[in-house]
Subunit: 329 residues, 2 copies
């Protein structure tokens, strides 16, 4: 492959075309561009929205408290999908450490068993620098994977906080993974997390209390929710693989309900808003990054010397963003 040929293939148009053709390297390249906030990344995603059939893909969110075994369960779902002959993409969102800025789960379970399998695409992302639980580019990365022909995109988030709110805006089906013995059932109910679950997975089903937790969850679900769907409760053991097939079936039943009831339109609409918000935040971030470094250091200098307060500094920076936008395009 000549240099010029290689260069030509990096235009948004050619990358988009290659992604739609299922080219893994083009997919990986586009994901990196998106994560780095490269200006051509938005163009690629736009092209894919115009040219790829994105409506067939399903986003599955896997969430729950730390230690519930979400990574192992996500991996087991991928294995299960492969056995059924389906391609599967997996996004693992690592929480960033508040102090070091680095991803915490450097020791995150390296998912085994899928290397060399073209039907599997796994990407680990950090939510570094982001105010929420998901990375702001998660929605875009999921779209890229969809466009590359992955009809199932599993998005796994860590933490029992904001990530759940965001995953609910992105996924067709949210699986809330719980384990017995952490007391999380009651705690999560208090925190209003339960209501985002479309399917409950009671993982580590060999543990004492798993059956009890499952029946408590079922009891709490006896009154059907407003959309006429009662979330199923599935006992799983991600390590042994027990129940993972049933979990996948329950996910499919929820999706079928979305399609039959027409609620899929609401889900899609919500997802588009999430994608729009993510893209807007990305443009804002890029605009901030586009402020000339001498202007930025002047503001920082004045902030440190207390010549400028943070609120006036914000207005100065905002005016610079507007002026830059005015000058550009």
């Amino acid at each position: 492959m000549s240099m010029s040929n290689n260069k030509e293939q990096q235009t948004p148009e050619s990358l988009a075309e290659r992604i739609i053709g299922g080219d893994r390297r083009a997919l990986a390249r586009a994901i990196t561009l998106l994560e780095n906030g490269a200006p051509q990344a938005n163009r690629i995603v736009s092209l894919l929205h115009q040219n790829a059939d994105l409506n067939k893909a399903r986003f599955i969110g896997i969430t729950g408290p730390p230690g519930a075994g979400k990574s192992t369960l996500s991996n087991a779902l991928v294995t299960c999908l492969r056995k059924r002959g389906e391609k599967a993409a997996l996004i693992l969102v690592d929480p960033a450490s508040p102090l070091t800025g680095g991803a915490i789960l450097g020791d995150r379970l390296r998912l085994p068993g899928h290397s060399g399998d073209d039907g599997v695409f796994i990407r680990s992302m950090s939510n570094r620098g982001h105010l929420g639980g998901l990375s702001p580019t998660t929605a875009g990365v999921a779209t890229l994977m969809q466009a590359a022909g992955f009809k199932r995109v599993i998005i796994e988030t860590v933490g029992t906080g904001q990530a759940e709110t965001e995953i609910a805006g992105l996924a067709d089906t949210v699986v809330l993974v719980l384990v017995p013995g952490l007391g999380d059932d009651i705690q999560l109910m208090k925190a209003g997390i339960m209501e985002i679950a479309d399917v409950f997975a009671v993982n580590k089903s060999d543990r004492d209390g798993a059956a009890l937790l499952a029946s408590e969850l079922k009891m709490s679900q006896t009154v059907s929710s407003s959309d006429g769907f009662t979330p199923e409760v599935i006992l799983t053991s991600a390590l042994s693989g027990d129940g993972v097939d049933s979990l996948l079936d329950a996910i499919d039943r929820h999706y079928a309900h979305l399609e039959q009831s027409g609620l899929i339109k609401v889900t899609r609409k919500k997802r588009i808003q999430t994608q729009l918000n993510g893209a807007l935040q990305g443009l804002f971030r890029n605009a901030l990054a586009g402020i000339a470094s001498e202007d930025l250091s002047q503001v920082n200098c004045q902030l440190e010397q207390c010549i400028l307060d943070p609120y006036s500094a914000a207005e100065t920076l905002w005016n610079l963003i507007i002026a830059n936008g005015k000058g550009g395009k």
Copy 2:
């Protein structure tokens, strides 16, 4: 009070002056302006930064998992501060429900015992619509309280997620509240939450396992952290009040360490960055809200009909923001 007089008192300058004079109604009014994203709010906070002595106040963050008793403990700290003759302000950040958009803790413990006490100011805020755990206006509200003469501002956040990251950027001292029996100790360590704690409060100290949890925490702290400070572990019972005095002493010792080591400068710098980020996000939000409703509904309509993809829509909205900014001031 005549209408015109009342109106005059609502200018940023007069509100700022009244806040510095300790006027509670002016403080409440400015907080509401800030929460509503009113343009004059930034001006008020700027004026306070210029005219009030904000360096004497201390921000204390109270965080930890749901059910740890943070509200009761925050209230007990306020009571304790009042006994010592200090004024205290308290900000309670409610998580917003992902689905309903409303604050979850409508049934949040109504803090008793401080009504009619001018030395106490309590404000409950929702983080609704925000991607992180804190409300984007929390930093501003805390500044308003500082300016009104509250030398201690206690900020309590719910959830074991992103809120902790943000509170670490805002508070001088972060108190991580844990309780025995939830298994949270190990879970939180895994999630990298432990490192933000300046003081640990093991609450509900009458419960089995409280002493064990405290000693485990102490063991995990034997190696001094990089700044030469080892977080203290305090057993508290927020309900009975046991240990709350000791907790306040430990908070003060941490603050003294910040001052003696000069680390207070780092804390202040971090806080200024947090305030700057919050103010920038506020300006961005206001700019979005400033897009004409006919433009917005056109974009939404095209989104729904899939004429426009979310990424192109984001660029359209961003260009409108730039054009509006160009037209304004």
